[in-house]
């Protein structure tokens, strides 16, 4: 079954309250029992300037935007043309603008959308303290079928401290817009599920990817975070600062990323699970010390909320192009863990898992999320409780009575019991120089090979269970076609699979959560019977496809579907590729 959803954009210049309007709408949708996804885009200005809130609502959970928007509600037109590539509009789409602000810019009209006028400012002007964005919300509600009660509850909550008059003014504007919607051309409507949260059937959360990331590390056991702000990772850190304080942890702002990575190395060496979050430029600065964590075997988690590269790139937009640096970026042979979240709620799962993996294997774990999922807010089913808690194999006495403690002892698993400072009798020096089992620097080939084997063995022999990938088949089975993807391309890929399946197609979706170490056996199993595959990713050079080629046996007929940021794939782009693949081979 394909998803029953409605997609819309609210746009306007900064003062127009676009972002507030989007948030109110999302909250109201939550009241109505809907699921939702909201992304934002804004111009280069630090504050103010044009902005757009892109929303999609549905009666079931959604993980991706649609191919185009049903509705663009423009409070004004200031520089909105800048977003045209991010707001695909088609003939069925409807643009609603305020005649007071003139005509829609040509850039938005390429897809020949329907157009209609709504005198938002005029209508608002007729209401005391009425604001055009509330009129817009009313019109949207009328168009898409959002019950006014839902908005009433939200406005009461949000404007409560401003008093009843403010609430009434807002709702008056809303109702005026709602009434006006009757005169606008129709857009798809969603059925109401409920008119209050309490009445909704399933417990749901409203959360952003960046918040979910923060919660994930706390659930995993992290209690020390070092921070250097960088877009779009800052919100992870900003959420963590007060939250950690509530659960007996702390966040320290560092002077730079070189300091933040080394601070968490120090904290983790001290026995306190630790993490930091950054984006591409900051990750680049952490590379040397990530290698230190590999060699000295210090567990830690670094979250990279990817943005458009290279270099400073586009700080506020999304791309999946830090895969290479995450997997291969360290100098020397430096085995480490790389995991990737594939949706807003999966940020929670994946980061919590990452803490677990890092602690269990005494290795650094990189978590890749991206701007799109990090800064998106979603209404999702309440995430499950997870059993992953960071648990480190510690040493409290030497393995053999009276023997000198071997910090880097050879073990079958490759994991050696770690003595935490404070433990009597097990003092040692952890070292980034190559060393023998005691940690004493050594330049012997035999020690180097033994330690290299150990450091890679502990990762390859670990039992990752089923979490290495999310695998999903069409209702009628997998057939012989696969979509292989990762990260936020998973959302549209999943939806493409649903549509393909709804049209009678058969395929399997494999979305990798564990990027490194690679899992050739599990992949072989997942690819059993698969003859054709499309590899989907948002990078200019097809980094993921190249990595798969390097480490996996791919079906003979494998195509790479990739493009650089900031535009995400729409489900249809992937579906088209699926159809083409299958047509070619029919």
């Amino acid at each position: 079954m394909t998803i029953n959803s409605v997609s819309l954009v609210i746009a306007g210049s900064g003062g127009a309250g676009v972002v507030t309007a989007g948030s109110l709408l999302l909250d109201a949708a939550a009241q109505a029992g809907w699921y939702a996804l909201m992304s934002r885009s804004s111009g280069p200005q630090i504050r103010g300037g044009e902005a757009a809130a892109m929303l999609r609502f549905a009666t079931e959970p959604i993980m991706s935007h649609d191919d185009s928007f049903h509705l663009l509600m423009a409070i004004d037109w200031d520089n909105i043309g800048r977003f045209s590539a991010e707001i695909p509009l088609v003939a069925e789409s409807l643009i609603v603008g305020d005649p007071a602000h003139g005509a829609a810019p040509a850039a938005l009209l390429a897809g020949r959308p329907r157009q209609a006028a709504l005198a938002m400012s005029e209508i608002a002007g007729r209401i005391e303290n009425g604001r055009p964005n509330m009129v817009a919300l009313g019109a949207i509600a009328g168009l898409i079928g959002l019950p006014p009660e839902a908005m009433q509850a939200v406005v009461e909550k949000n404007l409560g401290r401003k008093g009843q008059a403010a609430i009434d003014a807002s709702m008056a504007a809303f109702h005026a817009g709602f009434a006006a919607a009757a005169d606008l051309p129709a857009t798809p409507k969603l059925p109401t599920v409920a008119t209050s949260v309490a009445a909704a059937t399933e417990p749901r959360w409203s959360i952003t990817g960046n918040e979910a990331t923060g919660l994930g590390v706390i659930r995993g056991g992290v209690r020390f975070v070092a921070a250097y702000p960088i877009t779009p990772a800052t919100e992870v850190l900003e959420w963590l600062a007060p939250s950690l304080a509530k659960v007996g942890g702390m966040l320290v702002q560092a002077e730079d990323e070189l300091a933040s990575i080394n601070q968490i190395i120090g904290a983790s060496y001290g026995g306190v699970p630790a993490m930091t979050a950054t984006s591409g430029p900051g990750l680049s600065l952490m590379i040397e010390s990530l290698g230190l964590a590999v060699a000295a075997e210090v567990p830690l988690v670094v979250v990279d909320v990817m943005r458009v590269g290279p270099s400073t790139g586009i700080a506020t937009k999304s791309e999946q192009s830090d895969l290479n640096i995450a997997v291969y970026g360290l100098h020397g042979d430096a085995p480490h863990i790389v995991v990737a979240a594939n949706s807003v709620p999966d940020c929670l799962f994946t980061t919590q898992w990452a803490v677990h993996l890092a602690e269990a294997m005494q290795a650094p774990a990189l978590v890749l999320t991206d701007q799109a999922m990090g800064q998106a807010r979603a209404i999702v089913p309440k995430p499950a409780e997870l059993a992953f808690i960071g648990q480190r194999l510690t040493a409290s006495a030497p393995a053999v009575e009276g023997e000198r403690y071997k910090r880097y002892a050879m073990t079958a698993s490759g994991v050696s019991p770690m003595a935490i400072p404070g433990t009597p009798g097990l003092t040692h020096t952890a070292d980034g120089l190559e060393h023998n089992e005691f940690g004493t620097p050594s330049s012997q080939a035999s020690d180097h090979h033994a330690q290299m084997d150990k450091r890679s063995r502990k990762l390859t022999q670990f039992n990752y269970g089923d979490h290495w990938a999310d695998i999903e088949d069409s209702e009628v089975g997998a057939g012989d076609t696969a979509i292989i993807t990762w990260g936020s391309s998973t959302g549209p890929a999943r939806e493409a699979l649903q549509r393909f399946s709804a049209a009678g197609g058969r395929a399997r979706l494999i979305s990798l959560r564990l990027i490194a170490p690679v899992q050739p056996e599990k992949m072989a199993e997942a690819l059993a019977g698969i003859k054709r595959a499309v590899v989907v990713e948002q990078s200019h050079s097809g980094q993921f496809y190249r990595m798969l080629r390097a480490f996996y046996e791919l079906p003979a007929q494998t195509v790479s579907l990739h493009h650089g940021g900031p535009l995400a794939f729409g489900p249809k782009q992937i579906l088209d590729q699926l159809n083409q693949l299958n047509a070619g081979s029919a």
């Binding site: 939550a30 949260v197 909704a200 417990p203 749901r204 959360w205 409203s206 959360i207 919660l215 706390i218 659930r219 209690r223 020390f224 939250s243 304080a245 509530k246 659960v247 007996g248 942890g249 702390m250 320290v252 560092a254 002077e255 070189l258 300091a259 933040s260 990575i261 080394n262 601070q263 968490i264 190395i265 120090g266 904290a267 983790s268 060496y269 001290g270 026995g271 306190v272 630790a274 040397e288 010390s289 290698g291 230190l292 000295a296 209404i379 309440k382 003595a419 400072p421 404070g422 009597p424 097990l426 003092t427 040692h428 020096t429 952890a430 070292d431 980034g432 120089l433 940690g439 620097p441």
Partner: protein, 280 residues
């Protein structure tokens, strides 16, 4: 924690490991290692409650030569490692040992911010005005006319870095200079540095006999500083800015800024409460 009365007695050798240093015979760093172990013995700190953190360099090899917990990190990043360790584990006594290159060249930014942040750690810098480990290049503290490095065969032409002045300007809470030719005073001052709350900076004139053999004359040049320490930063700045670098054996500045010590609050908050904020 044991009470003072029960305190175990330790000797300096209890803080030494069996590992033979890779240092050249006569290197000043041997004395520094001795002074550190002597200071720890004097403080009677159980070895497992002490951690020594370092970067890369001859002087940065110290952790493995001690019997306390050690962390030998990468070049220039010892201070942030120590910062994270001490904040996460305020119960430990944390020392940082390293060289002038590690601390003031590649590590300069962390030095600034460690002074400023004033976490309760003690930083012992073995200043030999050279990169010993990489075989003799100029460091920030090298005189501008030293022509001994192939990298700067006509001298650096750059004013030497003044670690104590910059440390003071950045907020270090305790500043001293000692000479490796006087290990007893060095140990005494390290004891004081460890005891003083906040960030303590101890510059040790520690000759590199291999690449700066002329530094062996330091033992004859150094003199005990005539004045006692001041707690007035502006006065200390004036003194240090006119000082020739050879006044040793005394504490030069002691501040009273409280150390940066954010607490791991044992609030009753639970993860469930954090989650509740997301629930609709």
């Amino acid at each position: 924690m044991e009470s003072c009365a029960q305190k175990k007695k330790y000797a300096a050798k209890d803080y030494k490991s069996d590992l033979k240093p890779i240092w050249c015979p006569g290197c000043g760093d041997y004395t520094v290692l001795n002074a550190i172990t002597r200071a720890l013995a004097e403080l009677a700190l159980p070895p497992e409650e002490v951690a020594v953190v370092s970067g890369i360099g001859c002087s940065s090899r110290i952790p493995a030569y001690t019997s306390v917990y050690g962390f030998h990190g990468v070049h220039g990043r010892a201070l942030p490692v120590a910062t994270g360790l001490k904040l996460a584990r305020p119960d430990l006594t944390v020392l940082v040992t390293g060289g002038d290159g590690d601390g003031f060249s590649i590590g300069g930014n962390h030095f600034l911010h460690a002074c400023r942040r004033n976490v309760d750690i003690t930083y012992i810098v073995m200043d030999n005005q050279v990169y010993g480990m990489t075989k003799g290049q100029a460091s920030p503290t090298t005189a501008p006319d030293w022509e001994g490095s192939k990298l700067t065969p006509e001298g650096t032409g750059i004013n030497p870095f003044q670690p104590l002045v910059v440390g003071l300007a950045s907020g270090a809470n305790f500043i001293a200079r000692v000479s490796s030719s006087d290990p007893v005073n060095m140990a005494r001052i390290i004891v004081e540095a460890i005891q003083h709350p906040g960030f303590s900076l101890v510059q040790v004139l520690s000759p590199c006999v291999t690449f700066r053999p002329e530094q062996q004359e330091w033992r004859d040049i150094v003199r005990t500083a005539v004045v006692d320490y001041t707690d007035d930063a502006a006065r200390a700045a004036r003194r240090l800015m006119t000082d020739d670098g050879f006044n040793v054996g005394k504490v030069l500045y002691k501040g009273s800024r409280p150390p940066f010590r954010p607490e791991f609050e044992n609030t009753n908050g639970s993860v469930t409460e954090l989650e509740a904020r997301f629930a609709l």
